[in-house]
C-alpha cells in the first residue's frame, strides 16, 4: 500500500511535469502567432457596434515563465487568502510594483476560479478582457484607449484597426513602460565626408 502510494505520487509528478512541458510548448507557439491571425478572432464586442469599424485585440501575452491555465497547478492547492510573500512565482514577486503596499495577487486574480480575473464587484472576468479590470482604477486611460488615443492602434486609418490590450505594453505586475535602447543618432556634421 505504502509502495503503491509512493508510486502514484511519482507518476503524478511525471505526468504533471510532462503537462508543464507541453503547456510551455503550447504557450510558446502561440506567442509566435502573428497579430494578423488574431485579427480573425475579435474579442471586443461592445466596441464593434460603433459604426462599421471592427476592432480586434490579439490574445494577452504570456511570457515563458507564466503557465496557463493557472488551474493546472492551483486546482489541487488549498486556498489561502492571507496576503503574504509567496515562495512561488519568484519573478513576479521580485518585480511586483503595482501599489504593492496595498495590493497583492488576489486583488486581480480570483481565489477560487484561478483561470479568471476578478473585478472589484466580485464578477469574474476573462483574461482577454483584462482592460476592464485595469479600467477600474485607470478610468481615464480606459476612456482614451477606447477612442484610440491611449495605446497603439495600427492597420487602416479609415477601416479595420488592430488594438493592443493594456498588458501588451504594460506588465500588469510592474506596469511602468520599460525603457528601450534608442536607435542610432543622426550622423554629426563634422563626421560627414566631403562629397566628391
Amino acid at each position: 500500500m505504502f509502495i503503491m502510494k509512493d508510486f502514484n505520487s511519482t507518476a503524478q509528478k511525471i505526468i504533471f511535469f510532462n503537462c508543464l512541458i507541453i503547456l510551455n510548448l503550447f504557450i510558446g507557439c502561440n506567442n509566435n502567432t502573428s497579430i494578423e491571425n488574431d485579427l480573425q478572432n475579435p474579442v471586443i464586442s461592445h466596441l464593434e457596434d460603433k459604426q462599421n469599424v471592427e476592432i480586434a485585440v490579439s490574445r494577452p501575452p504570456f511570457s515563458d515563465e507564466y503557465i496557463f491555465p493557472c488551474s493546472e497547478c492551483h486546482a489541487d492547492m488549498e486556498v489561502n487568502i492571507e496576503p503574504r510573500i509567496l515562495e512561488m512565482h519568484e519573478e513576479i514577486v521580485e518585480s511586483y510594483n503595482h501599489d504593492s503596499e496595498n495590493r497583492w495577487c488576489l486583488a486581480c486574480h480570483d481565489a477560487n476560479t484561478r483561470d479568471s480575473l476578478r473585478l472589484a464587484s466580485g464578477k469574474l472576468l476573462d483574461f482577454k478582457k483584462s482592460y476592464k479590470l485595469c479600467g477600474q482604477c485607470h478610468g481615464d486611460k480606459l476612456r482614451d484607449w477606447k477612442v484610440g488615443v491611449h495605446g497603439k492602434r495600427s492597420g487602416d486609418w479609415n477601416g479595420k484597426k488592430q488594438y493592443l490590450l493594456c498588458v501588451h505594453c504594460h506588465d500588469p505586475h510592474s506596469p511602468h513602460f520599460k525603457k528601450l535602447k534608442p536607435d542610432p543618432p543622426p550622423v554629426k556634421e563634422e563626421d560627414i565626408d566631403s562629397i566628391e
Binding site: 477612442v147 484610440g148 488615443v149 487602416d156 486609418w157 525603457k179 535602447k181 543622426p186 550622423v187 562629397i195
Partner: protein, 299 residues
C-alpha cells in the same frame, strides 16, 4: 579689312545655322526616357494619359534598375479628406524607431544620410526650447531622467512657406493637405529649405544610395519613389500608404502609441477626438504656418 569683317560675320552665321541644325538632328535622334523626363510638364498640368504613360515608363525603369517589381502610384487625394497628425509628448520616449521605419518605407538615402524625422531631446525644466535641444543624444536607455522628446518632421502646414518661395512651382499642397514635391520639376535651388522653419526639407547633395534589397518597391510618384541627385525631399505622411487607407509607417512602428493619425473632417476619427478633448499645440505658432501636425499631452 571691310571684306574680312563681312566674311567673319558670314562665317558666324554659317556656323550658327550648322550648329542649330546639328543640335536639332541630335535632339530628334534622342528618344531616351531621360530626355522625355527633361521635357516632361509639371505633374499638376499632366493629362491622365500622360500620367499613365509616365508611370508605366518609371515602373519599367525602376524594375530593371533595382531587380524587382516596382509599382509607382499616382493615386489622387481621397475626397473629403484632410489629414491631421497628433503626437503625444507625454508618451514619446525618444527611441527613434520612427526615424528608421520612415527611412525604410520612404527610400531615404543611407549615404549621405537623410532622415525625414528628427527627434529633439529637451530639458523638462526648460520646456520646448530649440536652442538647447539635442538631436545626438545616445544613452544606453531612453527616456532619460529629466528629459522629454519632440520628434519633428514636415508639419504639412496649411499656410506653407516652402510652397510660396518655390520659383519653379515644383512643390505644392494637395487637397488632402499633404505638401508634395515633383522631383522632375525641382531645380534644386533649396529656397524651400531656407523658408521651412522646421528643418523638414532635405536635399540630395549626391546620388542617393539605397541598397537594392532595401529599396521599398511600393511607391508613389509624389512620395517615396527613387529620387535623383539635386532635388529636395520631405515627409509626405507616407502618401503611398495613407491614400490606400493605411496608417503612416511611423504610426505603425511607434512602440508607445504616441503617434496618432486620421482624417480631420471625420468627426469619429481619433485625431478629431484629440483636437476636441486634449490640449494641443503646434510648433512655432507665431509664424502662422498653420501646421496640420499637432502635439498634445495625453496624460
Amino acid at each position: 579689312m571691310q571684306k574680312g569683317k563681312n566674311n567673319s560675320r558670314r562665317d558666324f552665321l554659317k556656323k550658327l545655322s550648322l550648329g542649330i541644325g546639328g543640335s536639332a538632328v541630335a535632339l530628334s535622334a534622342c528618344n531616351s526616357p531621360d530626355f522625355d523626363d527633361f521635357l516632361q510638364k509639371n505633374f499638376k498640368t499632366l493629362s491622365k494619359e500622360d500620367i499613365d504613360e509616365i508611370i508605366l515608363n518609371l515602373e519599367k525603369k525602376y524594375s530593371e534598375k533595382y531587380g524587382k517589381k516596382f509599382s509607382v502610384s499616382a493615386e489622387p487625394a481621397i475626397d473629403n479628406t484632410l489629414f491631421g497628425y497628433a503626437l503625444d509628448l507625454s508618451r514619446c520616449i525618444g527611441c527613434r524607431r520612427c526615424v528608421y521605419a520612415c527611412v525604410d518605407e520612404n527610400n531615404q538615402s543611407r549615404d549621405p544620410q537623410i532622415h525625414w524625422i528628427t527627434v529633439l531631446q529637451m530639458d523638462k525644466e526648460k520646456g520646448i526650447d530649440y536652442m538647447h535641444s539635442d538631436i545626438h543624444y545616445n544613452p544606453e536607455l531612453v527616456p532619460e531622467e529629466g528629459h522629454f522628446y519632440v520628434p519633428v518632421a514636415c508639419q504639412q502646414c496649411a499656410n506653407p512657406p516652402c510652397v510660396k518661395v518655390c520659383p519653379a512651382t515644383a512643390t505644392w499642397q494637395e487637397p488632402d493637405g499633404i505638401v508634395v514635391v515633383d522631383y522632375n520639376w525641382c531645380i534644386g535651388c533649396r529656397y524651400c529649405m531656407a523658408a521651412c522653419p522646421y528643418g523638414a526639407r532635405h536635399f540630395n547633395w549626391s546620388e542617393p544610395i539605397v541598397p537594392d534589397e532595401e529599396m521599398n518597391p511600393i511607391s508613389h510618384y509624389l512620395g517615396n519613389r527613387p529620387r535623383p541627385k539635386g532635388v529636395v525631399e520631405k515627409c509626405t505622411f507616407c502618401i503611398q500608404r495613407v491614400r490606400e487607407g493605411k496608417y503612416p509607417s511611423c504610426v505603425e512602428i511607434c512602440p508607445t502609441g504616441s503617434r496618432k493619425f486620421g482624417n480631420m473632417l471625420d468627426p469619429e476619427s481619433e485625431i478629431r477626438y484629440i483636437l476636441e478633448n486634449k490640449r494641443v499645440l503646434v510648433l512655432k505658432a507665431e509664424l502662422n504656418t498653420q501646421p496640420n501636425f499637432y502635439y498634445f499631452f495625453g496624460v
